[in-house]
Amino acid sequence: MGHCSYDGDVAKATRGFFGRSRTARDPRLPPGQYDAGTDWPVLNAEVTPRLATDTWTFRVEGLVEQPTTWTWKEIRALPGDSYDGPIHCVTTWSKFDLDFDGVSVDTLLAMARPLASATHVVAFSHTGYTTNLPLADLTGGLAWVVWNVGGQPLPVEHGGPARLLIPHLYFWKSAKWVAGLQLMDHDEPGFWERNGYHDRGDPWLEQRYQGD
């Protein structure tokens, strides 16, 4: 039987495995990822919810000067922003062909005004899903709340009417059906993070699981 090999070691080659051609490997692909092309796999742990935009809200709360709730109409009336670039799922697919429209999280935080003590955020969804992030990963043009993809309304299976978009981290951080952000002075694991996934999830560092 086997022996242990640990992270950081050079892995032993698997007999007979050569993998797909790497001559044209896209430099935008982080380690261990592959290009899903036109597929956009759907992975979530809960029932796809039935959300109506007339009752939908988004809230920023916790360690902020001005806890704020936006209705669908209100958030759509904010100055818009867009993202056109790669996304990376921890299940090893990446995509390059999506462009999203929404609002920058910077715009929302500018209205709620985080307190100096705020260091971390739990993003929460209308389904009860949560995911945790350092506040610094949500500011400085790194994160959005988005409602359009490819110029069309975001399909419900991909988080519509609106989801969080934090494309520099693995995509489970980009909470589908997002309902708000809670700013905190400490880190608190979210749904997948309690179940073994990494607290930050940087795809370029392959931070897939706790301990990576």
Binding site: G2, T14, F17, F18, R20, Y34, V42, A45, T48
Partner: protein
């Protein structure tokens, strides 16, 4: 919760489940100690250091953890599953990591309605096997949906009073149920204390969820695992 480091498992057995699925039996010298419903990651490494990794559900029930089964569906354009089907043989070594997952798990201590589509039966089979092994069959009901009899995994082992197979395209000879997708009738009376576990493609998971939601099951009682095309 720390996920254990990569370690080397030895392939003890490879056997076909269907024309497009194999079960790999893997052996470890350090126990894995999984819970029913969890998965592991398998990593393949090429001679130049290139790696590809994919997640696969554990089909075997929790036990001493030194031997476990993965059932792998062959995705024709995939990179990892065709290798596991066509190249891997008894005695090979594979790198694995896990077990992973603390949500889509069942420890045998409350009623569970298990709903699987095609290859989605794999983690549910670990739960059924766990129930049967521990005398908790009365707590589980398993409904599996497949296109045709040839697509059914674990066909010899599945039948029992707590299981039902529905066919969406081709039914076995003598079947009285018309071929069609899952309907509320297929579930009969649903124990209101049940937690529902749905596993399959995104389309299957949403279809089955909608049937159960329309039948009055609250969404918070439904746990879903969607199998994506992760090759």
């Amino acid at each position: 919760m720390q996920v254990a480091a990569w370690r080397t498992a030895t392939v003890l057995d490879v056997r076909p489940e269907t024309a497009t699925a194999v079960t790999l039996r893997l052996g470890l010298d350090v126990p894995l100690r999984h819970r029913a419903g969890q998965h592991v990651v398998v990593r393949l490494t090429a001679p130049d250091g290139y790696t590809a990794q994919r997640s696969y559900s554990i089909a075997s029930p929790p036990d001493d953890g030194t031997v476990f089964d993965l059932t792998v569906e062959r995705l024709p354009t995939g990179e990892v599953s065709p290798f596991l089907h066509d190249v891997v043989e008894e005695g090979d070594e594979l790198e694995v990591r896990g077990p992973i997952g603390g949500w889509f798990v069942w420890d045998g201590d409350f009623p569970a309605l298990l709903v699987g589509g095609g290859s989605g039966v794999v983690p549910l089979m670990a739960m059924l096997r766990h129930a049967r092994r521990t005398g908790a069959e009365h707590l589980v009901r398993l409904v599996v949906s497949v296109r045709a009899p040839d697509d059914l995994y674990y066909a010899d082992e599945l039948p029992g009073p707590e299981t039902m197979v529905v066919y969406t395209r081709v039914a076995p000879a003598g079947a009285t149920r018309p071929v069609r997708r899952l309907t509320a009738e297929d579930f009969g009376t649903i124990d209101e204390h049940s937690t529902v576990y749905i596993c399959g493609s995104a389309r299957f998971a949403d279809g089955a969820s909608n049937v159960l939601l329309d039948a009055g099951v609250p969404p918070e009682r439904i746990r879903v695992e969607r199998f994506g095309p992760t090759g």
